[in-house]
């Protein structure tokens, strides 16, 4: 088995794993299990990133999504103590709206993927995701958008602090 074959199979296995765990996120009843399946999905996607030689993005994916955001999710779910008895009865109109919006999102994603050129990223070649190249792009070519996005984060942070404050004069 050559290296190419190995990578192909790894890609397929990881992809299947990611899709399966993403499906389990939707189908499990227990919200905590959902979050844990989502973490698994993130790990599978991290594996795909590493196959693309995008180590920085892979690690940041773990730190930010699996390590921080999902922990906060888990946090909230554990504190809310969700279970079958306390699950609120959902409005049928709400369900209908949810189906329509998610259907629209699916159409958008499929459409955008169709428009993209079919060139498949060659695994483990080209160091686009390596930290030096990424820094080169972020701090030269896209410096302004990068800094603007940081202002966006700052605004979000200030907003969160304001929401969290109890007595605003």
């Amino acid at each position: 088995m050559t290296q190419d074959h190995l990578q192909k199979y790894l890609f397929l296995v990881l992809g299947l794993f990611a899709v399966l765990s993403a499906l389990m996120v939707v189908f499990t009843k227990n919200p905590v299990h959902s979050v844990l399946y989502l973490v698994l999905a993130f790990f599978a996607i991290t594996g795909e990133y590493i196959l693309l030689n995008a180590q920085f993005i892979a690690i940041v994916n773990i730190i930010v999504y699996a390590g921080a955001i999902m922990v906060l999710f888990l946090f909230v779910i554990m504190l809310l103590n969700l279970n079958k008895e306390t699950e609120p009865h959902k409005n049928p109109y709400l369900k209908f709206a949810a189906v329509i919006t998610s259907g629209l999102l699916l159409i958008v994603i499929v459409g955008s993927l169709k428009a993209a050129d079919n060139a498949i990223a060659t695994p483990y070649q080209g160091g686009k995701g390596l930290i030096e190249n990424l820094a080169e792009v972020l701090f030269h070519q896209f410096l302004l958008p990068f800094e603007v996005s940081s202002i966006l984060f700052l605004a979000a942070m200030v907003g969160a602090v304001m929401l969290g404050k109890k007595d605003i004069k």
Binding site: L36, Q55, I59, I62, G67, A68, V71, F75, M78
Partner: protein, 345 residues
């Protein structure tokens, strides 16, 4: 080096690192009890073997022989998964730490590091952030309010201090210009230890290391007086042992990281001037690194038996209102200094 030879060499290195971590963690329990005893004018364990050196084996045997209890109302799979994750995450961190220079045997170069990925520091951060799951899942799956409270405390504490830790590392990375632990260790030859360039960053990193390993004075997740045992209240037998063991391995690994990042790793001032052979120098480097690690393990214990536990609001105040602003200031200060000395173009 052939591919097979490479694989065997790496496998051997992994095995050695793994064994050393476990043995050191095992004897850390003994050292902790001895240090605690000595600081309290006692003798500590001295019955099992000479100086009580067989005590960890006896403790391990006891742990294995204890009855394994899984609570009826717990989630069994997650209950077992929790300690497994805790143990796993503390064991895999050792992969990126450079334990010494390189050995030159038969024309081949054998670096004493399992893998030199170019984002070594980020890898450690990622593993630490995964480590939260071990505690959280275990605490939640126990289905016990004390466990849950301990798990929540642990995760919020670890997330909060990860930020300050990351910012302290950013200042260090600005100075070193690389994220690879191997390069960071290699550049600290002679007396050019990073502690001289990053004293504030070191103090922040040290405090955060205490918080991340859940050691006193930040041991709120398992504060016995408030939460019985915290997240491992319901655990018994070797599953409890895994949690306790993971804590000691974490302590060992964080000592190694502190030594590598700030205290010159395997370097010692003036040793490179002696003109020793490469191999001997590499072996001496391992000795230096481990003596630094042992000092920091002792330091962890020293602090534990000196300082009382923080109150929860004090912990959060320290993390968010002191350490994070301080580390941001440190980043800005480092940047300014680098600009003054013309290292930024």
């Amino acid at each position: 080096m052939t591919f097979t030879g490479f694989l065997i060499y790496k496998a051997l290195l992994v095995l050695i690192v793994f064994t050393i971590s476990l043995v050191i963690a095992m004897y850390s329990t003994y050292a902790e009890r001895k240090v605690a005893a000595f600081m309290q004018d006692r003798l500590g364990p001295n019955r099992a073997g000479p100086f009580g050196l067989l005590q960890p084996l006896a403790d391990g045997l006891k742990m294995f022989m204890k009855e394994e209890i899984i609570p009826n109302v717990s989630n069994k799979f997650l209950f077992i998964l929790g300690p497994s994750i805790a143990m796993f995450t503390s064991c895999v961190t050792g992969a990126v730490i450079p334990w010494g220079g390189s050995l030159h045997i038969g024309g081949n170069v054998y670096p004493l590091q399992v893998t030199d990925i170019n984002i070594g520091i980020l890898y450690i951060m990622a593993i630490t952030s995964i480590g939260v799951y071990g505690i959280m899942i275990g605490g939640w799956a126990s289905n016990n309010k004390y466990s849950l409270l301990g798990a929540l405390r642990a995760s919020s504490q670890m997330i909060s201090y990860e930020i300050a830790m990351g910012l302290a590392i950013i200042a260090l990375v600005m100075h070193t210009g690389t994220l690879s632990l191997n390069k960071i260790a290699a550049m600290q030859t002679g007396w050019h230890w990073n502690i001289i360039y990053q004293p504030v960053g070191f103090i922040i990193f040290l405090i955060c290391a205490f918080a991340e390993t859940n050691r006193t004075p930040f041991d709120l997740p398992e504060s016995d007086s408030e939460l019985i045992g915290g997240y491992h209240t319901e655990y018994s037998s070797m599953k409890l042992g895994f949690y306790l063991f993971a804590e000691y391995i974490n302590m060992f690994i964080s000592s190694a990281i502190i030594a590598t990042l700030y205290f010159g790793g395997y370097h010692m001032p003036f040793i490179d001037r002696l003109g020793l052979s490469d191999n001997f120098g590499a072996i001496l480097g391992i000795v230096f690194l481990f003596s630094k690690i042992f000092f920091f393990i002792f330091f962890f214990m020293w602090v534990r038996w000196t300082l009382p536990r923080f109150r929860y609001d004090q912990l959060m105040n320290l993390g968010w209102k002191v350490l994070i602003p301080l580390s941001i200031f440190n980043v800005a200060f480092t940047g300014t200094l680098m600009w003054i000395f013309g290292r930024i173009h």
